[in-house]
């Protein structure tokens, strides 16, 4: 994950809605996000509070746990995203496993945060996502490649495709492979003999395709049936 240092926005602070039921973790995340004064953090311990907060002011970024005392956040996140597509979403996860990634994509998230991530990493991730930076981590790349039948056996895919794998061009698949192997954008660009600037363009195209194929309801169902656990 490349961070674009020094590109900090100096205008009015952006609003972050932090939805997390565990108070210490919420406090830790809030502290990490409000550092440097770039973000104004609004905290919500449950969906009801979050809904009220969104009603009063649409945030620029939502950082949300998926499982909350009064339900699963996916519905709300998808709703917000539909109403205000400019809102960016980061999902909070403990393990960063595939189930979470499916859910995050279903929620329209651009990425995820580990609950124990370093404060600076949390902050950087938030900035990056606000700048429209890389939404695809190696885990997401692996996930897409696996679903596209590029890795391992499709038969062992753990659940029915709640996220439909879009049709990807050979070039896009090559880029995904590069990301999955942990290569940087520059390395991918030189390997594929292309301009480093075009790599993010491709990645955004991939992600758009992926989100178009996302079916929030299917993930919601899978979570309800216990196929996806948090």
């Amino acid at each position: 994950m490349k961070l674009q240092n020094g590109a900090e926005v100096t205008t009015a602070p952006q609003t972050v809605l932090l939805i997390e039921d565990d108070a210490p973790i919420r406090a830790r995340l809030a502290a990490a996000l409000s550092e440097h004064g770039i973000f104004k953090v609004v905290q919500a311990p449950d969906l009801a509070t979050a809904r009220a907060a969104i009603a009063s002011q649409t945030p620029d970024l939502i950082v949300s746990d998926l499982k909350l005392p009064d339900g699963i956040a996916i519905g709300l996140l998808a709703e917000v995203r539909e109403k205000s597509p400019q809102v960016e979403i980061l999902v909070i996860t403990i393990l960063g496993d595939e189930a979470t990634i499916v859910a995050a994509i279903a929620a329209g998230a651009s990425g995820y945060l580990l609950k124990d991530a370093l404060p600076e990493d949390i902050h950087k991730a938030a900035i990056e996502v606000m700048e429209g930076g890389s939404p695809i981590s190696p885990s997401i790349a692996r996930f897409i490649l696996r679903r596209a039948g590029e890795i391992g056996s499709v038969l062992v895919a753990p659940m029915k495709p709640a996220v439909e794998v879009p049709h990807l061009t050979p070039r896009e698949l090559e880029i995904l492979w590069g990301i999955a192997k942990g290569l940087s954008y520059n390395e991918i660009a030189s390997l594929l003999e292309m301009s480093p600037n075009t790599v993010p363009t491709h990645i955004k195209a991939i992600y758009r395709k992926l989100q178009v194929g996302t079916r929030g309801e299917a993930v919601y169902e899978a979570i309800q049936q216990g196929l996806i656990t948090f």
Partner: protein
Amino acid sequence: MVGVLAFLVAGLLVISLAMNLMHQRHAHLASEVGSMMCADRNGPEAGIVATVRLPLAYSPSQRRGSDGIRCQFEAVFSPEEALGAALLIPAVTGSMSVEANGHPVLVAEQYIMRNLRFTNVPAFVPLGPDVLRPGTNRFTITLIAPPGRPIAISPVLSGPRAALNLRYQARWFTSSVLPTLVVGGATALAMVFGLIWAVRRHQAEFGWLSLFLLLGALVGSVLIPDFGLGGGPYSIWGMLALWEAAAGLMFMRAVAGLPTKRVHLWFAAPPAVLWFLFLANPSVFMPNLVIQGGVAMVLSYSLLGQWFLWRVARRGNLEALLILIGMAFWTLFLIHDGLSAMAVGGNMIFLSRSAMSGLLVMICALMTLRFLRAMAQLDDTAKTLRGQVAYAEKMLTESYEELRARREAEAISAERVRLMRDLHDGVGGDLASMLALAGEVPPRGAEIAKHARSALVDMRLIIGSLEDYGGNLTLALAAWRERAGPQLRAAGITLRWKVDRLPHMPWLGSSQVLDILRIVQEAVTNAIKHAQAGCLEVTARECDEGIEISLADDGVGISDSRTGNGLRNMASRASRLGGRLLVKRTEQGTAVRLTIPTTPPQAKPDASMP
């Protein structure tokens, strides 16, 4: 092919039968000349002068300069009849000329087919008003024998031309056309059955049948010239009929299911003796003995064979019954011909060669029957086989399902054991430590946090290892890097990543990936904990022994006393992978090098089971 022949022959038989019936219907219109006044052509001293009853068989005496006879008879025609009458001589052997009231009306040179003695052809003499007169008419028939051969004539018919013409055509068909067809059919069938026998030696009946038909075809065949061997009155080829009868007997025995043994060579003795007598002295006095002996032998062989057939046909052997019917049919004609030949009775019209068509039909019917039976058997076999295959398939599927279920259960069980062990090794230990630390007064927060972090890291390793990397270690390492990056960054260590294109290793399952990641993670943890390093370089590449993953830091270097729990665990994991682990102090710091073969190690007892 056999079926087609059968239909052909059957069709011809039906036609001939129909024609015979037709001429029988008109028979009453004709009158038979039963006797003639005959004299030897060369004068009374050369031979007979008598009123002879027809049929007549006569061997002109060469010694006395005789070569034929002249016979006279009278026939009465009404004026109407005289307008369109005819003579029909159903069977005649020799050259013949006919005069009506002194006018020559027919000169016929008979082509004696291949010197066959027991065959003859009809002659038809149309008579018009130019030669006939109402009332009594005098006819003279002159028969001339080829040198040294007999002449024969059957009773002569006189009557309306139309009726006799029909009868003539029927006779012509049975005496000329049918035998030729029989020869053709028998030759073809002999070849077919010979081929069948060549590939199915255990079915002796095909071999004998082939021989029987072949010999029969040779006897009646115009295919082989005489080579002058039959210089005498009897053809050497005609004598093959004896062997034909012997082959026929063996054929009937085989159909009856009787085995062929050495003792049956005796069946070859009579034809051999007769053959010898014929060759030794084919002239004067022998012929009658040989002919009579031959006819007797053929008849007795045929009857013996039929007796064999009858014994099994009685017990319901349909094949034997069919052959028996054909043989009996043929034998009747053989007896008829035999009697004529031995001048005991009959009309000198030889029919056995034509009658053989009936036998051929039976043989064809038999073979068709066999074919149909074989087809039915084949169908049955196919059905049975299909059933068996379906059953076997079902059993196989069931046992496969069973096996799969067991495999699945085993795999799940093995996975459960592995997860338990993994949790025990990592998270379990950390949690226990955390409990102990929390119980102290005051609780040691920093250490609890350390263990919590370690537990979380290990948990993620386990989760990460459960992903399907499809044998691509580069992906697994990249996934690990995603997690280790922040840890190293937090410790102020720069990560240098040099992972080359690694070979595909499908044997790397979750368990192996976890072992590798734990070794790597342990090395990182050590570097963070003890090394005070500024930089960690992770290299993975293909080497001679397989692949090599090395982690080198620029820290203080590992102490020489390598007794740490962590190191021991790393080594045991490495050996479980069939690889080697080398941890050493370098000039720069510490280097951990793990070598893993590209192929899976032999199963070893798991030393690190809890």
